[in-house]
Each structure stands twice: as C-alpha cells, then as structure tokens.
Subunit: 221 residues, 2 copies
DNA sequence: AATTAAATTTAGATTTGCCTAAATTTATTT
DNA sequence: AAATAAATTTAGGCAAATCTAAATTTAATT
C-alpha cells in the first residue's frame, strides 16, 4: 500500500462515507462535506483518478475503485482504533475522540496500527458503535438502521449517533441515551414524527423527530 | 502555544539539538542535519525569525529564543512520550521507536499528550535514556557524558546511544550493552582508543573507539 | 592587504493544495 | 425546443516548502 498525503486521505475518506449513502458522489456534495470549494474538488479528483483510486468522468460524478476502497478502509481502521484507544485507555469521552483521531489517523505505519490493534484486544467497534476494519480491510456490515425505521415494541441497541455536536450530546446525556443503551419504541406520532421510547426498561420518554433522525440502532440485536 | 507546521517543527527540533553542542547553529550544519539544502534553511530561518522563535542575523548563524525553546521542548516531550508508549505498551524494540515517533510527535493536541503522560505513569526518560520534559516544559539535565570521557574504575549506567542504526544495535546486543546496563571502564589504549570495560560485573570485554563514541552514560549515578 | 575559498543568501523555478472568477456543460422550466 | 438555472470545469493566481544556479559576504591564505 502506497502512502498518501493527509489531504488525499481526507478526500478518500469523505468519498467513502458519501458513497455509502449515494452510490455516486458529486462535486458539490464533496465540497460541502470537506468545507472547501468545487474547483478544489475537481483538481483533486483528477489527481486521484490518475492514481487509479477512483472512477471519474467530467460532469458525471465519481466513486472509489477497489483500490480506492482499500485505502479508505485502511484510513478508517486507523481512525477507529485510535478512537478506541483514546476512550478506553486515555479516558476521553466518546464525543471528544473523533477530533483527536482526525489527526492520528494520518500516521500510516502499518506495524504501528497492527500492534495497536493487538494491544487493544482487537476491538470490533469504536466508541460510536461503528465497526473497525481488520488488518485485511474486512469490515462487518452492522445492519444499522435509524430509530425512526424501528418497528414499535421491538427492543434494540443504540449503535451510533450521526451528528456529533456538543448540543446533541447534551440532549442525549439528559435523556440517558448512550451507545449500547437498550431502546424500545412504544409509539410514533404522525403529526410531528415525535416518538415515545423506553430506555433500559424505564418509564417512556418523548424524543423529537430531529433527535430521532440522529439515533441509529443495530437492528435485530 | 500556537500551532506550527510539520516542517517548522522539524527545523525547530533540529536547531534545539544542534544548539546543545554548539551554542550557535550555522546554515550548513542545519542543512546537513535535515538532509536539505542551505538555501532552504535560509528561507525557513527568515520565517521562524518573523515568528520570533529564533534570533538570526544574515551570515551570523542562529539560536532559539526563549519562545522557540519552549516550542522545541514541547515537540521533544511529544516525541519521547510516544517512544515510551511504543516500547512499553506496544512492545516495539528501542531501536524501532524513533522512526514511528517522528510522525506521531507532530500531532500537537495538548490534552492528548498530557493524558498520555498520565496513562504512562509520568515516565522520566524515554527508551533511549533521554529525559522527557514535563507538561510545563521542564527537563532534567541528565549530565550525560560519553563513555570515552569516563574515568577508569568508575561505575556508571548506560543512558543512551547516539547512532541508532541496526548495525550498532547488532553489536550492542552481542556485547550485552543496553540502556541501564552498568559499565565500568578498566583500561584505555592510546594506540587505537579502544577500551576494556566490564558489563554488569562480568569479565572484561573490548570495545572499539567507534563504538565507544556512541555510548553515553549518566555520570555519577 | 589582496586573493582565493568557503559559507550564505538571493533570484527564479517547481509542486501541492487551495482559491476566485469566467467559461462550459448538464438539468430544469417555461 | 429554447431559455434559464444549476452544477461543474477551466484558467489563472497565491502561499508553503522545496530546489538549482548565481550573487554576495565572510573567512582563510598567500
């Protein structure tokens, strides 16, 4: 595996995440994700195409090649292992780890990462509940769905939260909702899409549509 | 403390190390140390002077200001803490840690480093025997001297080895010389500057001038 | 002290990664 | 289907960090 610049890695990672939703990624989408300008995206797409990391025809959007996906998974592996390390060993809270891991992930020494993995006991998910690719780039597909899709009276486990702002953290803490928390949807209201849920078998609480949209659960577990 | 680029940090660190020997650092010295060209050094010196990290008059050499020294010690702190982590927790050998730490040291998140320090139990020296600056930038002066300077019949402790190539490692391993090993100089030969030493009170062995020049000990401990 | 040699700086170029503004292509509407 | 709007690309520029080659300053030597 060749080495890539921090900038290249950030583009590759962003494309990987956008692809999972979209299939094909567009220039504007990526510019928004990376908080940069469309012209900068086009420049980098040419470069990554030349390195055979993505398929790209002008005006037609782009997606990672098999090679590009491998690189993306390697970056995500580093990111999530560092997140696990920060939370588990250094006692960072789960809302703090992402930012620090954004820097650590670009240290691309395979031996370092594989030894870190071993030291941590080969964890399978990071502190946000997202799966960690193994040394071969294999990643579990976690069958995560949004809590809004969950049928009523089904027990499930909170797997991740998509928006990691401190505002949402405050609300989640207040409602005692965290990764691994058991949730059961009791009622959905069509009027405002709010819902009543039970957390760890305690009395029902109400959550708004905005909050619900950011909570993901492992379906069937 | 402001943030500096990886390149700036590498210059600052190199100047710090050269200063300890020289006092004043020259353009050519620094170019050799960083394996770059004198013209590149001059460019960066102007930049670092503008940031008040060093004193520099054209053609007169340069040295770090108090601010520059603070920055250098912060980088060295990160480097040596990561080295300790790699050796102690991830089981890297002491000749492998330097290279990996060269990358990790540029992640400049103070909270990360202070929590890492705490996690490691506030170690005072890295795997090469070099002291680790504390969170305030304070560093023990280790009074290290080269084994060639050691008086005969004085017991001392190996503190560090300056050249970290695998060739020297092989030789040191063969002779059972490691950080923390007790050494006692028994005889010095003026002809070739070779010397006879005892390692951990075992029978005397002979080491060459070249090897001796690379072994440093804590004088008086 | 004048000359030569060595060290250092300046001038000008290159690459990477980003930007703005203008041009182009594709999509949407009337 | 023509006109308009939106998305994307191209053109040209800028800053950081590097380089080579030429000019300059300092040091060393005759």
């Amino acid at each position: 595996m060749l080495n890539y610049t921090t900038s290249e890695e950030n583009y590759i990672k962003a494309i990987y995440h956008l692809q999972k939703v979209d299939g094909m990624v567009t220039t504007n989408e990526l510019a928004a994700e990376l908080q940069s300008k469309p012209a900068s995206i086009t420049d980098m797409m040419k470069k990554l195409k030349a390195k055979k990391l993505l398929n790209y025809q002008p005006y037609q959007g782009f997606r990672l090649t098999a090679d590009g996906t491998k690189v993306a998974l390697s970056i995500i592996r580093r990111h999530r292992l560092w997140e696990f390390f920060l939370a588990e060993k250094l006692k960072f809270t789960w809302d703090e780890v992402h930012e620090v891991a954004e820097d650590l992930e670009h240290v691309s020494n395979k031996k370092l990462i594989d030894k870190l993995d071993e030291y941590l006991g080969f964890p399978r998910v990071d502190p946000h509940g997202d799966p960690i690719p193994d040394a071969n780039g294999k990643i579990e597909n976690s069958k995560k769905i949004c809590i809004t899709e969950l049928p009523v009276n089904t027990i499930s486990t909170v797997a991740s939260v998509s928006d990691q702002s401190s505002e949402i953290l405050e609300l989640l803490e207040h409602k005692k909702i965290a990764i691994g928390t058991k949730v059961e949807v009791k009622k959905k209201f069509e009027f405002d899409n709010s819902m009543e849920i039970k957390i760890n078998r305690q009395p029902v609480i109400t959550i708004s549509e905005q909050l619900a949209k950011n909570i993901f659960v492992n379906y069937g577990s």
